[in-house]
């Protein structure tokens, strides 16, 4: 079979399977319906197993939209336990009030922990005579108080950032 036409002849001998008789009637019904203004495609009643499941995207989309709307308006709190945990941020305002109301509290310590120091290089500040080196320092400060009578202690901790300009002399 060196001649391609021989192979073409062999291929042409193959007859495609005839479509089901139902197809013709389905097309006829659909075309008839289309003349009446309907655009529905008629599908067979019984289908092979596994092909019946189709996702209704419109329904799914509407469902998701409704769920999203509910979440927005209902403000569902996914971390309800966080409210029960005492945090420094929530304790700080009342701490000041308590400190004012309790004059027995006495400052006992200040701790500064430097956890980052970065030299950002030369800068030329306005009004300065020469260049400066800018050093950025990140720290955490902790202030402590102690009640003289009961011995109770209070501590406040917060992050700070300090920028230092060190003049550079050109020698």
């Amino acid at each position: 079979m060196n001649d391609p036409s021989e192979l073409e002849g062999e291929l042409k001998k193959l007859r495609p399977v005839q479509p089901s008789a139902e197809l013709m009637s389905r097309v006829g019904s659909t075309l008839a319906n289309s003349e009446k203004g309907s655009a529905k495609i008629i599908r067979p009643q019984s289908r092979p197993s596994g092909s019946d499941f189709r996702i209704n995207w419109l329904g799914l989309g509407l469902g998701l939209a409704a769920a999203a709307t509910f979440l927005i308006f209902a403000r569902v709190d996914f971390h309800p336990n966080d409210k029960t945990k005492p945090t420094i941020a929530s304790a700080t305002p009342s701490l000041q009030q308590k400190a004012a109301a309790l004059p027995n509290y006495q400052a006992t310590g200040l701790t500064q922990v430097v956890y980052s120091k970065r030299d950002e290089g030369l800068v030329f500040p306005r009004g300065a005579e020469g260049p400066s080196r800018r050093v950025r320092t990140a720290k955490r400060e902790t202030l402590q108080w102690r009640d003289r009578q009961s011995g109770a202690q209070l501590a406040v901790s917060y992050p700070t950032e300090e920028v230092t300009l060190i003049p550079v002399s050109g020698q």
């Binding site: 079979m1 391609p4 193959l14 495609p16 399977v17 197809l23 075309l31 495609i41 092979p48 092909s51």
Partner: protein, 163 residues
């Protein structure tokens, strides 16, 4: 097929074209029922627009488009179709009638062709489209269509050994 162009009755047109159209659709969707859905949708769409049946390239482009739409509509099934492209469906759901051993071997060789070559062969051999029509339907040049056809035949010759 030549007289198809002169018929205005959809039944005559459809009965002549349907086997080739379903075979063409089955290049993407292997289930015969899905292929028939695709052909129905494409043919109805084509006929409603009152397009001339002479413009067969548009009809085949519509079938191709409907098949791809079906695949996109159901990604899960599409993945399955691609993953098992052929194996079970190829043997369980024959695309051709009454095959002898030699023809079965030829169909198996055809099934193993790359899809772009196989679709050109299907359009040319069993749907009798010209290379110009194939090119228009697939959105490729005529030279590309012709070369895919040649490559397809050459690949078939390599794998198919008639008994």
């Amino acid at each position: 097929m030549e007289n198809v162009a002169t018929h205005e009755d959809w039944k005559v047109c459809f009965s002549e074209l349907a086997p080739g159209l379903v075979l063409f659709a089955r290049q993407w969707v292997r289930r015969p029922a899905d292929a028939e859905d695709v052909v129905q949708e494409a043919f109805v769409r084509f006929w409603r627009r009152n397009l001339s049946i002479k413009n067969r390239a548009l009809l085949y482009a519509a079938v191709r488009s409907a098949a791809l739409d079906l695949i996109r509509r159901d990604n899960r099934r599409a993945r399955r179709e691609v993953e098992v492209f052929g194996e079970a469906e190829r043997t369980v759901q024959p695309q051709f009638e009454q095959l002898d051993d030699s023809q079965r071997q030829l169909v198996a060789a055809l099934d193993h062709l790359p899809r772009d070559q196989r679709e050109v062969l299907v359009m040319k051999i069993w749907n009798e489209l010209t290379f110009a029509e194939i090119a228009e339907a697939l959105g490729i040049s005529q030279n590309t269509a012709a070369s895919r056809y040649r490559y397809g035949l050459a690949a078939l010759k390599k794998t198919y050994q008639p008994q």
